[in-house]
Structures are given as C-alpha cells and as structure tokens.
C-alpha cells in the first residue's frame, strides 16, 4: 500500500526548545503543513510528502512512513486469553490418540501449574476433519472458522519462556515476561502513527460479561517507557466506552461550541504575543480535535447502526456469542476508519472464566469456541467482502498452549504448556492455507521450525512495513527494540 522511499523513523521527542532552535522561524509553515498532512493522509495515503521528522513533534500520532512497502496498515489481534489447547483446536495429533491413556515418560511435573494432578496422555475429546482446498485439519468446535482455513496461515511451533498467565501474557504482548514494557500495539503506533486522528490509535476490548481482565490487567496494553500517548485505549465495558468522550448533560452542543470559540479566541490572542511557541498552536488544535472526537468515537462504536444482515452474520442475535460479536464488529468499524491496532481478549481472567481449561477441557473449550467461532468467522467474511482483509492483519493467539496429558479431576482438564501453541494469521499479505512449524508426535513441544515470541513480533512489524531491528526507542542509555536482541521474520507464512 505504501511505496515511498524508506525514511528513517523519527525519535520524535527532542525538546521543544531544541526543535525550535534548529528550525527557527519557519515554524508556522511547518505546523501548517503537518496539520494539512494529517488530512491528506486520510484521503490518499500514497501522496504524503511531508517528512515525518517535521510532523512528529507536533502530533506524535501523525502518520509516519514505514521502512519499506507495507503489506497491511492495521492489525486486529484476537487474544485467546487463558491459553487455548493446540491439540484440541488447530494442531491435529493422531499420535496423541494412539498414545491415549499412556504415561508420558520423562515428563517434568513442574511444566504446568498443578504438579500433583498430573494424569496420563489424553486424546482430544473433539472430532477433527479436513477442510478447504488446503485440507487443514480442524476441530469440530470451529464450524465457522472451518470455512476460512484457506485464508488462514498457521504457525504450529510457537512457544513461550514461561508457564504462568501474567508473565506469559506480558511476553506475548511486550516480548518481555516482566511487566512494564511497551506492548506491540504501542510499538506499532509509535512507529506508524495513526490514520484517523479523530479516534484512538490503539483500542483494546476485554470481556464484557464481568469475568475480569486478563491477568496483569492494563500492563498488557501499556506503553512502558514509550510516551503515554501510545498506550492502548481500553473500552470500558460499562458506562461511557471511552473516558471523557461524552459532553456533560448540563451543556448543549451549541453551548460547548460557543465555549470552544471563546477559548479559541482567547488562545489565539495569546498566541499572537507568543508566535514561536509551537505547543501552543498544537494545544489549540487539540481542542478542535477533541470536539470532533466526541462525534467520531460514538459513531465508530455504534454497532447497532449496522444493517440487520451484518448483525446476524456476526451473531449479535445469538446469546452465546453476542458479546464477542459486538467486539468483532466494532473492530471492523474501527479499522475501516483508520484505527491502527485493535486487540480483543476472549475470556476474562483465568480458570473457568477463560480458555484456561484446567477442569473439563471439553466443556471449557466448547464454551469458548462457541463464544468466538461465529464472530471471528464473520469478521473474516466481512473484512474480505469489503476489501479490507488485504490491508488488515488478523492475528489469533493466546499466551501459551496446553499439555497433551490430562489434569486429573472429576472431568479431566489440561494444564499450562509453554512448549507449544498454535497462532494463526489471516489477511495482510499472509499466505492462506499454509502451515508453518510442527510439534512432536503428541503435540507436547514445538519440534520443527520453532517460532519464538520475538519471531512473531518481528513478523508482525514486517507485515506493517517495519524492520524490527530499526524500530528503536532510546531509553535508560540504550536503544530498545520490541524484539530485544533476537527475532527472525517468519517468511514461510508470507505470500
């Protein structure tokens, strides 16, 4: 989508005074060109001619050039919170069925979380069948997604460094298993800015049925040491979806407009006496933007305005999945309007509230597949029919996989498994119907073409036109990367 010559990403946060000293009195024009650039980018991404090094200090979210031609401009990450079981979903293992009931020799009982509940190898309770031209083996719990396998690229050999929810969530989101580092969405908006200044650049949706936030809470969409503007905006599941977005009831639209006009007049008057102060001009502009956001955000989030056939497609009328349906439909409306990064968490905190099937893996996975299968399948259908799947990278992954052995209980479950899980991608120039990497015979550990979280992150940045080794931020005396000092792009899933 972008084919401009490569430009160096701008570190952006030189001080105002530094910047003024260097640019001198040409500032008014620079400000104007940057503001105009924001508008132009929306209309025609290919025609941007303004150097990001000028636009950035004014608005850190101005669209910036990628390093090279991007395959996708937006990302929707469907986060299967709690840890989806690979052997019950996308990693078909006839070898596990054969070994059903046998002890797993040499198993380290501290692999999972409940070292005293270690059971024997357990085959999947679900039937698998081949689907699509690619002949992909799909579990019966995904009848909707089974129709899309030829658009999905699977990586079966993912693994994490840790076996517990919070650190694994941090690792999958930030590349580090400790908390406090910038997440992928923050790095992406830092690198690319956003295409619609009237909406948040990075939006997060979590469980709306009151089952809690993913473990580690907002640290999962935090911006760490990157500037705060790059943190994810989590939609509140009750009340106003976005804080401060609604005008107070005591003020009419006309009254607020009059108030802003007064503010603008007084600020302009002040600016006339301080003409070189760029932040003043940016601050004036930010109020106009805020005023527009009050209309733009509710409009973007109003899924009820969608036609009935679209609501039906996503499953808005289906009690079992209506909550995820709303979120998937919201995600489509957001990327359609230029939002850069959207993340949706399926499931709440842990145990029976998420994919964390310690007890009754069958019941647990049937339930959460039931909540997500139709909405996600609809999202793929809908993005495709609108021509958005080419420019949107859809990612589906959780924080780890689950063990091929059972966790003992009245109804057997499966414990955490950091050694293997499947992630799938769709759209954004990925190669549908491909399968990259393999686990061992029983699906216990990634065995062939192992893919680390750094590799996954490098691949996501690559699809967005960024070199993961060049996307850096200077902090604590050195340049930091999302991928630390590792990461290889998984070219096998790219078209």
């Amino acid at each position: 989508m972008w084919n401009e010559p490569r430009m160096k990403l701008n570190p952006a946060y030189s001080s105002r005074r530094d910047f003024l000293q260097r640019t001198g009195c040409g500032f008014g024009l620079t400000a104007l060109s940057a503001m105009l650039a924001d508008q132009r980018v929306l209309a025609a991404p290919a025609s941007v001619a303004v150097s990001p090094s000028f636009a950035a200090p004014l608005n850190p979210l101005s669209p910036k050039m990628p390093h090279f031609a991007a395959r996708a401009r937006s990302v929707i990450w469907l986060f299967m919170n709690g840890g989806q079981s690979q052997v019950d979903t996308w990693d078909y293992k006839p070898g596990l069925a054969k070994a059903d009931g046998q002890e797993l020799k040499g198993f380290d009982k501290n692999t999972g979380f409940f070292s005293n509940d270690v059971g024997p190898l357990m085959k999947s309770p679900f039937k698998f069948a081949r689907q699509g031209q690619s002949g992909t083996w799909v579990s019966e719990i995904f009848p909707g997604l089974a129709q899309h396998v030829d658009d999905m690229a699977f990586i079966h050999s993912c693994f994490t460094a840790t076996n517990n929810h919070s650190p694994a969530l941090f690792e999958v989101n930030t590349g580090m298993s400790r908390m406090g580092f910038p997440c992928v969405g923050s790095w992406v908006t830092y690198g690319l800015g956003t295409l619609n200044q009237n909406l948040p650049a990075f939006v997060v949706m979590y469980d709306t049925l009151g089952r809690g936030l993913p473990k580690g809470n907002a640290s999962n969409w935090g911006s760490g040491f990157l500037p705060g503007v790059y943190q994810g905006t989590a939609l509140n599941h009750q009340g106003q979806p976005i804080n401060n977005m609604e005008r107070s009831a005591s003020l009419s639209a006309a009254q607020q407009r009059a108030q802003l006009d007064l503010l603008r007049k007084l600020n302009q008057h002040h600016l006339a006496h301080n003409p070189a102060e760029t932040e003043l001009a940016a601050r004036i502009e930010s109020f106009e933007l805020a005023y527009r956001m009050q209309t733009a955000a509710p409009e973007a989030l109003s899924v009820d305005a969608e036609p009935e056939n679209i609501k039906e497609l996503y499953g808005l009328n289906d009690k079992r999945c209506a909550h995820v349906a709303r979120q998937c439909l919201t995600a489509r409306r957001l990327v359609e309007r230029g939002v850069r990064f959207v993340q949706i968490y399926s499931g709440g905190m842990e145990n029976e509230r998420s994919w964390d099937g310690h007890k009754d893996i069958e019941g647990n996975h049937r339930q959460f597949a039931g909540e997500t299968d139709r909405p996600i399948a609809a999202l793929l259908t809908d993005l495709k029919q609108r021509g958005l799947l080419d420019s949107t990278l859809v990612i589906c992954a959780g924080e780890f996989g689950r063990l091929p052995i059972s966790q003992k209980g009245a109804k057997p479950g499966r414990d955490h498994n950091p050694h293997a899980f499947t992630a799938w991608f769709a759209g954004g120039g990925t190669k549908g119907g491909t399968h990259y990497g393999e686990t061992d015979e029983i699906g216990h550990k990634a065995a062939v073409n192992k893919v680390s979280i750094n590799d996954l992150h490098a691949t996501i940045l690559h699809v967005l036109g960024m070199n993961h080794e060049q996307l850096t931020y200077f902090y604590n005396g050195r340049n930091f990367r999302l991928t630390d000092v590792a990461g290889e792009v998984v070219r096998g899933i790219l078209a």
């Binding site: 007084l266 932040e279 003043l280 805020a290």
Partner: protein
C-alpha cells in the same frame, strides 16, 4: 487523569518525561467531572461580584487564574460570551472552564 498528561508508568524508572499535546487531554479538560466541579466552584466564588458587575467578575477571574488583569480585547470577548450565554451561574462556570483550558493557564512561562 495524570496518565493523560504524561505521568510515567510507575513500573519503570524514567530519566526524562515525555511531553505530549493530544486530544484526550483536551477531552479531559472539556468533559472530566473533576474539571467541571472545579469550574463550578470557581464560578461560585465569582458569583457575588458578577451580580454587581460582570466586568469586575471577569477581572477577578483573570487575577485569580492568571495573576494579571485581562487586556481590553480579552475583557470584551469574555463579556460578550457571558452576556450571550444565558443564566449567570452556568455561564460563569463554562467561562471558568475555558480559563482552565487556556494555554496561558496550562503552560508555565
């Protein structure tokens, strides 16, 4: 609220704070109940003066918020706004809120 204005993540040390100017900050100044409560309280302080003379109230507001009297243009703009905004106390509150959002109020010179 603090996070909006670049309050850093408390999990990491930070040598230098970033300083951003973005719309969510403006939204907070426009719509956050706390800001509205402060504006209403400020308006209550100005109300006795405003009942006598709007001009005196505007001057008092500028002295309190910005430590200086308004110049002629500012005074005229403010008076025009207050006279055109209906009921006195809500109009004053809305005017006070606009003062909080002034660049001069936000930035340290």
């Amino acid at each position: 609220m603090m996070m909006l204005f670049d309050w850093p993540d408390s999990l990491q040390g930070l040598g230098q704070r970033s300083s951003t100017t973005v719309a969510p900050q403006a939204l907070a100044l426009l719509n956050h109940p706390q800001v509205q409560a402060y504006a209403a309280a400020f308006a209550k302080r100005l109300l006795p003066a405003a009942k006598e003379s709007l001009e005196v109230a505007v001057k008092q507001a500028y002295r309190t918020a910005l430590c200086r009297p308004p110049d002629a243009v500012e005074l005229a703009d403010a008076l025009e706004y207050l006279r055109g905004s209906g009921e006195l106390e809500p109009a004053l509150a809305s005017f006070c809120q606009a003062l909080f959002a002034l660049n001069e109020f936000i930035y340290v010179e």
